[in-house]
């Protein structure tokens, strides 16, 4: 099988930051150019995010929109392997989870 053509990812249009509370990871995502906001919204639906990482995100994903600032907030439940005090992941806060979101391919 031929290797797939390199696809555009969320990182091509947006920046993000991850935070943790208990076993909930939240990642806020902001487009660099307001013109890309609709594409971001189309790409990062709660269902799409959960489906991309089913082994990691065990609970629901809620999505909040901050339209005037062209951002989304993704709140991913049961997504930190137990949370900062329980996870044996080297990154027990899930600080790097922002780059999981940024790695997702943009919607067609």
């Amino acid at each position: 099988m031929a290797p797939a053509a390199p696809h555009r990812t969320v990182r091509d249009i947006a920046h993000a930051r991850a935070g943790d509370k208990g076993n909930i990871s939240s990642v806020c995502v902001w487009v660099h150019d307001p013109a890309d906001y609709e594409l971001l919204k189309k790409t990062l639906t709660g269902e799409a995010v959960k489906a991309a990482y089913p082994g990691l995100i065990r609970g629901a994903v809620q999505r909040y929109e901050i339209a005037q600032l062209h951002g989304l907030n993704l709140v991913m439940h049961e997504a930190l392997e137990g949370g900062v005090n329980a996870s044996l992941n080297l990154d027990s806060h899930g600080k790097s989870w922002s780059y999981l979101i940024l790695a997702l391919p943009l919607a067609e």
Partner: protein, 446 residues
């Protein structure tokens, strides 16, 4: 010109830098400096420290911070508001008074806020937040329980003229909101304004995370002079709106992007950010450039405060052992994979069911292993990393021994063994009726 109240951050977490805080204290012309040092983990570790030694349990860097910050803050009339007391605010306040006396800062008023420790007030049948179990279902020993205290706990200290306010689990944004309420005379039910002030506190509470820290991604998001990044300053006016900025000589940057990333950091529903003081609404916030490294923040709001307070409960989680050995050069990934397989096989019969282990290949697939990232092929610099949690220190020691044994017993070319065992804490949260919690202020004078 409108009355402006200047708040600066002196620390945004327990291990934050001190140098930039000293710069702000000297050159920031601050009315108030907040020093935020408590998280879920730091609180539980504070309780453990206090159990081992009743004179400890506060921030380990308190002495260094106070020695460096008290003199310039005294000189500039800057009030310090901090939760560096962690699990022992009384000892922290007493130690601060002793330092002030030694530094010749006679008459310095240090207020100690207690009453956040609520171990006697929480019913074992209280449901845990975010999971369908009760407190009594947790099988681990409790090390401490603290309610998040808000401005109603801090204001009496400011009204009594404190130069330094030290508490334990003071909610992060309340550190900033209390001095704002004190200065501008906002009502304790002026929810819209309290929400705006809470946003200021939220933007300041993680220190450099709003001035270029935790932000740089070279080539896409570059930050000037990150090594000398400065802490933030908020210039707040009577309506609760503010300009977020930094000292001009400090590194870092304050841009729309840095402020946006911090705006929703660890926020869930932006329209309902719960603190002890208000249900803050960040969903309508507006941001606008107001000069170089100056972002004007406005239009946060709020509604009535929650009737309950969040309580963090720390449990003794036993021990975490962590050990590693590295492989480099040709076929390193397969040699490391073989080492990992050997370790899994050998550790399985040694450990009881209450010990959990994890084996990663750092350099191939570690942080994203559970997320299911595809491992690279043929990585040539790979570290096998084993982590273990157990109630028994012996299990961790056994694991470290097994990893070290790979130096002679494992695949070719393994080197660089390191291992460490640290105590582990586990935390959960519950809610408590706020009327049960009775904060109290004691004023100590140097």
């Amino acid at each position: 010109m409108a009355d402006v109240f200047r708040i600066g951050t002196g620390a945004g977490f327990s291990a934050d830098r001190l140098g930039p805080a000293v710069e702000l204290a000297r050159f920031g012309a601050l009315d108030c400096m907040i020093i935020e040092c408590v998280g879920e983990r730091t609180l539980a570790f504070g309780h453990r420290d206090r159990l081992l030694d009743p004179s400890r349990g506060y921030n380990a860097q308190l002495e260094a911070r106070m020695r460096a910050l008290l003199p310039p803050c005294r000189k500039s009339g800057t009030t310090i508001v901090t939760n560096m007391g962690v699990a022992n605010p009384r000892a922290a306040a007493e130690h601060t008074v002793a330092i002030a006396s030694e530094l010749g800062l006679g008459g310095l008023k240090v207020a100690c806020i207690e009453g956040d420790e609520v171990s006697d007030l929480v019913d074992p049948d209280t449901p845990l937040m975010d999971e369908p179990r009760k407190l009594r279902d947790m099988e681990l020993p409790i090390v401490g329980m603290n309610a998040y205290l808000g401005i109603d706990a801090i204001l009496p200290a400011l009204q009594a003229g404190a130069d330094v306010v030290i508490g334990g689990r003071l909610a992060d944004p309340s550190l900033s909101l209390a001095p704002l309420v004190h200065r501008f005379g906002w009502g304790l039910d002026a929810w819209e304004t309290l929400g705006a002030g809470t946003l200021v506190g939220h933007l300041l509470e993680c220190g450099m995370q709003v001035t270029g820290g935790y932000f740089a991604d070279p080539g896409i998001k570059d930050v000037p002079n990150l090594a000398d990044c400065g802490f933030p300053i908020a210039e707040v006016t009577n309506d609760g709106s503010a300009v977020i900025t930094k000292l001009p000589q400090a590194g870092g940057c304050v841009t729309l992007a840095t402020v946006k990333e911090q705006l929703l950091y660890e926020v869930h529903d932006p329209a309902r950010y719960l603190t002890p003081d208000v249900t803050a609404d960040f969903s309508r916030v507006s941001l606008r450039q107001a000069g170089e490294n100056r972002i004007r923040v406005a239009d946060a709001g709020g509604r009535a405060r929650p009737k309950q307070l969040k309580v963090t409960i720390g449990f003794d989680g036993g021990f975490i052992g962590e050990a590693g050995v590295s492989y480099a050069g040709a076929n390193a990934q397969r040699r490391a994979q073989l080492a990992a397989d050997v370790l899994r096989e050998r550790l399985r019969p040694l450990l009881r069911n209450d010990a959990a282990t994890r084996v990663d290949l750092v350099g191939v697939n570690s942080l994203f292993a559970t997320a299911g990232a595809q491992p690279d092929q043929d990585a040539e610099d790979v570290r096998v990393r084993v982590a273990l949690r157990s109630p028994r220190r012996d299990d961790a020691e056994l694991m470290l021994w097994e990893v070290e044994s790979l130096l002679c017993c494992g695949p070719a070319g393994g080197g660089g063994f390191r291992g460490a065992i640290v105590p582990s804490v586990v935390t959960r949260s519950v809610l408590i009726d706020r009327t049960c919690v009775k904060p109290r202020v004691t004023m100590l004078v140097a």
